[in-house]
């Protein structure tokens, strides 16, 4: 039986009907229709589904969507200001932080949470902060450089 609830994603309230077992990733992708967040491992290992829940990182594949009622959900679509990319997004593009792009939404969300908690991280802190996000293309180097280039600049 479906349950009626409201999900607040990137500042917009979406009334949705969900099966109680639906995870947050499936709800946001398939019901709300925001497909930026990806399903990688479906097991909380890869971080492709990373969202923010009231500013805190969450592996959305492993979080029940109904638990998010009343919380502010942020996805990669919420990082840009209209057509203006966030500085982090621009840095990813400029410094080789993106190749196939599949991990990028989760990387950007994790990096956003990292910089919010620690605005001036060391390289080691960036690597640890992003180690819940796997990337099979870049070797991480461009991603780490991109995050460091934004750190402390705002």
């Amino acid at each position: 039986m479906k349950v009626a609830t409201t999900l607040n994603v990137n500042g917009v309230s979406y009334p949705v009907d969900l099966d109680p077992g639906t995870n947050l990733l499936a709800a946001v992708r398939d019901v709300v229709g925001l497909t930026g967040s990806k399903e990688g491992c479906d097991d909380s290992e890869c971080g492709a589904c990373m969202m923010l829940l009231d500013g805190q990182p969450v592996n959305a594949c492993s979080y029940l969507a109904l638990q998010a009622e009343g919380s502010e959900i942020t996805t990669v679509e919420g990082l840009a200001d209209g057509d203006t990319l966030a500085p982090l997004q621009t840095a990813f593009l400029d410094l080789g932080g993106v190749q196939c792009g599949f991990c990028t939404p989760g990387m950007l969300v994790s990096a956003t949470a990292l910089l919010e908690a620690n605005p001036r991280p060391t390289e080691d802190e960036v690597r640890i902060g992003l180690s819940g996000n796997l990337c099979r293309c870049t070797g991480y180097d461009g991603i780490v450089k991109a995050v460091l280039s934004v750190a402390g600049s705002s």
């Binding site: 097991d43 805190q56 990182p57 109904l66 638990q67 180690s131 819940g132």
Partner: protein
């Protein structure tokens, strides 16, 4: 997934009533939902979300020098607490390395303990620090020493109608230092291959009390009395640490799995135990943070 009923508890009474009626509690979802999605288990038919229950949150320093953790205290909150870091350091060591930043933001100490994995990070430190948990059912509450909570991998001594509502750690005696260490192949998103915890009290250059526990080396996390005996009354020097480490290895009954063979785990048990004990002794002597 086959969840049929989902409710959100707004009070401890609500949560306990739902658990007693057969619902599985969920907070961060980092074990329950992941386990179901990876096929290790199925989602329960009835779930009660307890993450909004205010009384179950918090990391509180008590007037008597002890510490109280709400069941919903997250690893991130625990690791960020100055009091935990300075006086209950082994727990801080553990919470700081659970999963990734997302796991630590959502995962709770109550969930970690009740999931009863013999490889959990917070278990060994809480055992060595003499922690007790409070279990609540519709008929009342009771305290259980953390070391008596687990009966096997994934199994606890809690009754089906009991909810873990909090964890209490007594004030450590003056001159106490503690540490938790794991053997890991990567620094994050890791599960302990072998882990060891130690809490030691040093007075006038002698070890007056010692607790040593092993992680991922037996069916449940447990203390090793022989290792503790090797330390108590000693000067905490290398000979005592060596024999304590040997005692941990001798008491271990590890499994072989994808993360390591039983032989490898047994060989590493002594090494990791020695390092944890050495670190705890250094902290007890005030040699480093």
């Amino acid at each position: 997934m086959s969840v049929q009923t989902f409710t959100t508890a707004t009070s401890v009474d609500d949560a306990v009533a739902a658990v007693a009626a057969g619902a599985r509690p969920v907070a961060g979802g980092t074990d329950l939902v992941v386990g179901a999605r990876s096929g290790k288990s199925t989602m329960p038919e009835s779930v009660v979300a307890i993450h909004r229950v205010a009384e179950l949150h918090g990391v509180e320093s008590l007037a008597d020098g002890g510490l109280r953790l709400g069941a919903l205290a997250s690893h991130a909150e625990i690791a960020a607490s100055d009091d935990v870091r300075s006086r209950f350091t082994a727990l801080s060591d553990a919470s700081a390395i659970v999963g990734s930043h997302a796991t630590r933001a959502q995962g709770t100490v109550g969930g970690n303990l009740m999931n009863a994995s013999p490889a959990m990070e917070t278990g060994g430190p809480l055992v060595c620090l003499g922690a007790t948990v409070t279990l609540r059912s519709p008929s009342g509450t009771r305290s259980v020493a953390v070391e008596d909570l687990w009966t096997g991998p994934g199994k606890t001594s809690a009754a089906a109608d009991e909810l873990l509502v909090g964890v209490e750690i007594p004030a450590p005696p003056a001159g106490t230092g503690s540490a938790y260490l794991r053997l890991e192949y990567r620094r994050q998103m890791e599960i302990a291959v072998v882990g060891a915890s130690a809490a030691v009290t040093v007075a006038d250059g002698l070890v007056t009390d010692a607790r040593v526990a092993m992680t991922a080396l037996s069916a449940t996390i447990r203390r090793i009395p022989e290792a503790e005996a090797a330390l108590i009354g000693s000067d905490g020097g290398s000979a005592a640490i060596e024999s304590a480490g040997a005692a941990v290895a001798a008491a271990s009954t590890p499994i072989s799995d994808v993360r390591g063979s039983a032989d490898y785990r047994r060989a590493m048990a002594a090494v990791i135990a020695r390092r944890a004990i050495d670190q705890a002794l250094s902290r007890a002597r005030g040699e480093n943070a």
